[in-house]
């Protein structure tokens, strides 16, 4: 098992472009090391991106933030402007594991691990986030909802890696929220996750919305009908019930050790409604 620690994006791409049998990108390592330790996965090459400046910084890009794929959650939770702009994304990231996990785990890793239950992914989807991917032909930018294609599978090619995540800056009237259900208060994998982002006008009328669910289907789900349900309303009780119904309808979960189909579907509605209320309040709609 070979460990490499490139200093630049191009060095990393060069290493990735060589034909190794099993390459793994190491960002926070909180999924990779567990998989290695359990004997479930043994890479031949580990490429640590934490020495690459672009992957380890939170940069202001004028209109957007670029969050390096190797930036740990703890650092995001200390970034005042990010919290102000995307409280839902930050709380979703913060929900992943313990304080110790937060010292290591990253948005990029959470995305590329491609788990259907990843907490930050529905939040990034609702936030219309994108990721910057480096490869042999340079950079490309991809919407987050196009990254995870199946459980454990992503659309990132073997010779590519995610360098950073792009999030828009703060905008008045826009806010997001993320809620997840776990049996304990901490340290569990989401049974259901619900992320809501709304944009409202000064009167509290919804102008736009995006809602995404986690852990209720093989990949994260975008509730396609959410904008048409929410736009033009003040997210009143009746509207939210409609949204909850749409959330349940978009679920396609499995029965597993973490929850039943019935339970996941039912709670998806509850959480979507609650998250929508929080987002609406945060946007100034209360």
């Amino acid at each position: 098992m070979i460990y490499e620690r490139p200093n630049t994006v191009s060095e990393a791409v060069e290493i990735l472009s060589k034909s190794h049998e099993k390459k793994s990108i190491l960002a926070g390592g909180t999924d990779l090391l567990v998989q290695m330790r359990s004997g479930y996965y043994r890479p031949s090459h580990i490429v640590d991106i934490k020495n690459i400046p672009e992957a380890t910084q939170i940069r202001d890009d004028g209109d957007t933030f670029l969050v390096g794929a190797g930036v740990p959650g703890a650092q995001l939770s200390e970034h005042v402007e990010l919290i102000k702009a995307w409280p839902g994304v930050i709380e979703a990231m913060d929900l992943i594991g313990s304080t110790q996990i937060q010292g290591r785990a990253t948005l990029g890793g959470n995305l590329c691990n491609a788990s259907p239950a990843a907490d930050s992914v529905p939040a990034m989807i609702a936030a219309d986030a994108t990721c910057i991917i480096a490869g042999p032909n340079g950079y490309r930018e991809e919407k987050i909802e196009n990254v995870v294609t199946a459980p454990g599978v992503s659309s990132i090619a073997n010779n590519e890696f995610v360098v950073s995540i792009r999030l828009a800056k703060f905008k008045t009237g826009r806010a997001d929220a993320y809620l997840r259900f776990i049996p304990r208060t901490e340290m569990d994998i989401a049974v259901v996750g619900a992320a809501v982002c709304v944009l409202i006008d000064k009167k509290g009328i919804c102008l736009n919305a995006k809602v995404s669910l986690g852990a209720v289907a093989p990949t994260q789900v975008v509730i396609e009908t959410a904008p048409q349900i929410l736009i033009g309303t003040r997210l009143d009780e009746e509207t939210l019930d409609k949204l909850a119904k749409a959330a349940r309808a978009s679920c396609n979960p499995i029965d597993d050790k973490r929850g039943t189909i019935e339970y996941r579907t039912s709670v998806a509605g509850v959480l979507t409604k609650r998250a929508a209320k929080i987002a609406f309040d945060r946007a100034g709609g209360a």
Binding site: G29, L33, V34, T99, G103
Partner: protein, 157 residues
């Protein structure tokens, strides 16, 4: 093929050789004989191997030893200042915040990281900060009280 790593552990320069698959916890315990960090799960779920890596609280079982090149590592063995125990260590003893003691080093390191960041945490903040440290003996009551007591004591100083 082993990799040669140079780091700082508890303020002292340290060198070791490691295989890529070895975790920092393996090296601390087996190569550097720093067995105060405990292995309870090797999956980041119990916090018994909590250390501070470059100022961040992490589980040593989820860090590869090769990643430690040039990094600063703090473990339980470096928590006391010579003969002088850290206030958290003193209060854990006074408050009986340990029973079997296996989780204690992890709790102390995690609590230290908390108090360095926030010397006035609420009970709820302490509980959530320490949620990644499992204790099966105490029901957490005396641990939480002891951290709160220490915070109060340190605020007064």
């Amino acid at each position: 093929m082993k990799t040669h790593i140079t780091t700082t552990v508890n303020g002292e320069p340290e060198e070791f050789l490691c295989e890529t698959e070895q975790t920092l916890l393996d090296i601390l315990r087996d190569e550097l004989n720093l067995t105060g960090s405990k292995e309870g799960c090797s999956s980041g779920d119990c916090g018994a191997c909590s250390i501070i890596l470059n100022g961040r609280l992490v589980c040593a079982c989820l860090v590869l030893a090769v990643e430690a090149e040039g990094q600063k590592i703090e473990t339980i063995e470096g928590m006391a200042d010579g003969e002088e125990l850290h206030p958290l260590q003193k209060n854990f003893l006074k408050d009986a915040a340990l029973q079997c003691g296996i989780c204690t080093p992890g709790f102390l390191i995690a609590a230290k990281a908390l108090l360095e960041k926030n010397l006035n945490p609420t009970e709820k903040e302490v509980r959530y900060w320490l949620a990644g440290n499992l204790c099966r003996c105490t029901g957490y009551d005396k641990i939480i009280r002891s951290v709160l007591n220490t915070a109060e004591e340190m605020r007064r100083k």
